[in-house]
């Protein structure tokens, strides 16, 4: 039995950020991660946007929150931010929930920069009714990981345990006891559940009320961008469209689409997918494996996404398939209508404290400060 001040479940950005904040206060911290290294799932496998709110034209609250943290994140983690491209947001002429004028008005209301451009500079005639030069950056998760590992290594009071398989979490008087599959037991008066797609599984083990979420098995495609496309990032809004934009500082572009990025959807409390079982038994509704390393991962939807992007983008913007990244993404059921992505922090108990965080954005990590 080992005793800690805080146990953090999940070594994504939210987990490691918390570990660092607490570690700097000389607290004794244990991070439990089931993968062999940090940042192997959602922190790495996403569009790598540092949001400034453009993405949420129907949720001004989400937009303003992201805009508020945008500057801070870029300042704090400057080394991993890619600013060297023009980010173009466009509104599709058809099937969009917002049009160009509404988007412009939204940007003005949220106080974020937005300069109107001629849509036919980038898009085929008649496809988009508005194109806007915006200010949005992407971050490089691998550089961010190296930074956090270096900082955490310097803190002797922070320990990260990889390959950690939790069996149960019990509340004993004033501590939570985390029991592992290998028989070990860790105790702390404070548990932070930052397991993202695994949060309900952790809540289940602790016997706490679960989040109402649905799960999507998502594919992010990495491509080599052609000469013309290199200096641009494109996002076509606001409906069943796509994004193609630089993926951190990797030199690659990420390609995603609203309809083809999610391969499978699960509405159960804990993530159950038909592909579980094709991986040799490491992944189940009880303990989610890493889709990206799984042999049972779905076939790529690149042809579909490429055709969708090709339908909109002018022919000179070319790209070639490089590889796919897969991960499971939890989406709060309450955010379906306004497409908002709130950062939800729930404190289940005090002394001992159990806190769960769920967020779909990287730069709202600072929200954690008030509970740590």
């Amino acid at each position: 039995m080992e005793q800690y001040d805080k146990i953090i479940i999940g070594a994504g950005l939210y987990g490691l950020y918390s570990a660092r904040v607490c570690g700097q206060r000389r607290e004794k911290v244990l991070v439990l991660e089931c993968d062999p290294t940090p940042f192997r799932r959602a922190t790495y496998i996403n569009q790598a946007r540092v949001h400034q709110g453009y993405h949420y034209p129907r949720s001004i609250s989400t937009a303003m929150k992201s805009a508020g943290y945008f500057e801070r994140f870029n300042r704090d983690y400057d080394f991993c931010i890619n600013r060297e491209f023009d980010k173009i947001y466009a509104t599709s002429a058809r099937y969009s929930w917002s049009d160009g004028t509404q988007f412009k008005r939204f940007c003005a209301a949220a106080g974020i920069p937005c300069e109107e451009l001629h849509p036919e500079r980038f898009f085929k005639p008649g496809m988009c009714d508005g194109a806007f030069l915006t200010r949005e950056y992407t971050y490089d998760a691998m550089l961010l990981k190296d930074y956090f590992l270096e900082k955490l290594n310097a803190l002797k009071n922070v320990k990260i345990l990889y390959g950690a398989a939790i069996r149960s979490i019990e509340k004993r008087n004033d501590v939570y006891a985390v029991c592992m599959e290998d028989g070990k037991e860790y105790r702390a008066g404070f548990v932070l559940n930052a397991a993202y797609a695994g949060i309900n599984q952790i809540l289940d083990m602790a016997g706490l009320e679960k989040f109402r979420i649905k799960y999507e098995l998502c594919e992010i495609i990495l491509c080599d961008a052609g000469e013309k496309l290199k200096q641009y990032g494109f996002t076509v809004m606001d409906g069943p469209f796509f994004s193609i934009m630089p993926f951190g500082k990797t030199g690659l572009h990420s390609l995603t689409s609203v309809t083809f990025t999610p391969h499978m959807t699960c509405y159960r409390e804990t993530p159950a997918f038909p592909c579980q079982g094709k991986d040799g038994g490491t992944c189940s509704a009880f303990r989610l494996g890493n889709c990206n390393d799984c042999p049972g991962r779905p076939e790529t939807a690149f042809p579909y996404m490429a055709n969708l992007a090709g339908k909109y983008l002018r022919d000179e913007f070319t790209f070639v398939y490089r590889q796919s990244l897969f991960s499971v993404k939890p989406i709060l059921m309450s955010s379906e209508i306004d497409d908002s992505r709130p950062t939800v922090i729930r404190t289940y108990s005090k002394d001992p404290t159990f806190v769960t965080v769920l967020s779909g954005k990287i730069n709202t990590v600072y929200d954690l400060d008030e509970v740590l």
């Binding site: 058809r94 099937y95 085929k124 005639p125 008649g126 496809m127 069943p240 309809t259 083809f260 779905p298 076939e299 042809p303 579909y304 055709n307 969708l308 090709g310 339908k311």
Partner: protein, 313 residues
């Protein structure tokens, strides 16, 4: 095993109260697409169906192979064939897009690939029409249409067609709205062809009251929008009435000179004739103006070209 086509095709299917036909039709389309294409999608446009069509589509989609992506567009209420198909077309991402206007499968599954192969030979639009005598009303409509429109297009009653992406882009930049696809496609000025097939089922497609009402409205709208029918008719009528007015002027003058009409008769008739002459003239000008306005509002581009050929250096 033959190599599957690399081209991405989309199939847009019009669904309106088709619960009896949709299952077998969808199964046939899925089978053809799966067998011949590496990647494809099917978009079912549910145009205000009041039956269980969507439920059946969902069930069929659940059984399909992952190589075909299937989606449903639910229109908010009944829109009619043309708008509904435009909605489906706007969502389609294929390099080639099939449009199935009806879910009655009166053709062999092989016809679908015949039409596709024909498109590959350099046709931007290929129609598939049943090789049978058309309904009288349809024939009448197409005859009148052909007579009064400036583009010569032999239109038929068609069951489905394929469009190239080039064609779709051309249409998108040409018109603001597409009230009647066939006419817009015909006036797009790209190479078109029709493949006739022997129908396996000679019955007429069933239609409910709403669809029939919609079709007659559409026919009237199309004749006004795409043909010179209204203008030519009014010009002819004006000419006739002007002639009569002119005759009346001469006649009243002659009567005034030879017979002795009641006082005031000549002035009344003269005034009326001149007034009618003027009114008909003004009406023709107004109708011409209206037609110009329709063209300005409705058409975006001034001209369409089929191709540009460079002959010498």
């Amino acid at each position: 095993m033959e190599n599957k086509e690399k081209n991405f095709v989309s199939a847009v299917i019009y669904v309106h109260n088709a619960e009896h036909r949709i299952a077998s039709f969808l199964r046939m389309v899925i089978a053809v697409l799966e067998a011949h294409f590496e990647h494809s999608e099917i978009i079912c446009v549910n145009d205000g169906s009041e039956d269980d069509s969507v439920g059946i589509i969902k069930k069929e989609a659940g059984m399909a192979d992952a190589a075909v992506s299937i989606s449903v567009v639910n229109m908010s209420g009944f829109h009619g064939l043309e708008s509904a198909m435009n909605a489906g077309m706007d969502l389609a991402i294929g390099d080639f897009v099939f449009e199935f206007d009806r879910t009655a499968a009166d053709f062999e599954p092989g016809e679908i690939m015949k039409v596709y192969d024909r498109a590959l030979q350099g046709y931007d639009i290929v129609n598939a029409a049943p090789d049978k005598k058309e309904k009288f009303t349809s024939r009448l409509f197409y005859r009148v249409f052909d007579l009064f429109s400036d583009v010569s297009c032999k239109m038929h009653t068609e069951s489905f067609r394929i469009l190239s992406r080039r064609m779709i882009n051309r249409i998108a930049s040409m018109n603001r709205t597409i009230p009647y696809r066939k006419a817009v496609y015909a006036s797009a000025g790209l190479k078109a062809d029709t493949v006739l097939y022997r129908p396996t089922d000679r019955r007429e497609a069933e239609m409910d009251r709403r669809e029939r009402g919609y079709r007659s409205m559409l026919a009237a709208d199309s004749l006004i929008l795409f043909t010179q029918l209204g203008y030519r008719f009014s010009v002819a009528m004006t000419m006739l009435m002007m002639l009569i007015s002119a005759f009346m002027i001469v006649y009243s003058v002659v009567i005034f000179a030879t017979a002795h009409p009641v006082a005031g008769w000549t002035t009344t008739i003269l005034f009326l004739s001149v007034a009618f002459f003027g009114i008909f003239g003004v009406l023709t000008i107004i109708i011409k103006y209206l037609q110009l306005l329709v063209n300005l509002v409705f058409r975006r581009t001034q001209y369409n070209f089929e191709s540009v050929e460079k002959l010498t250096k």
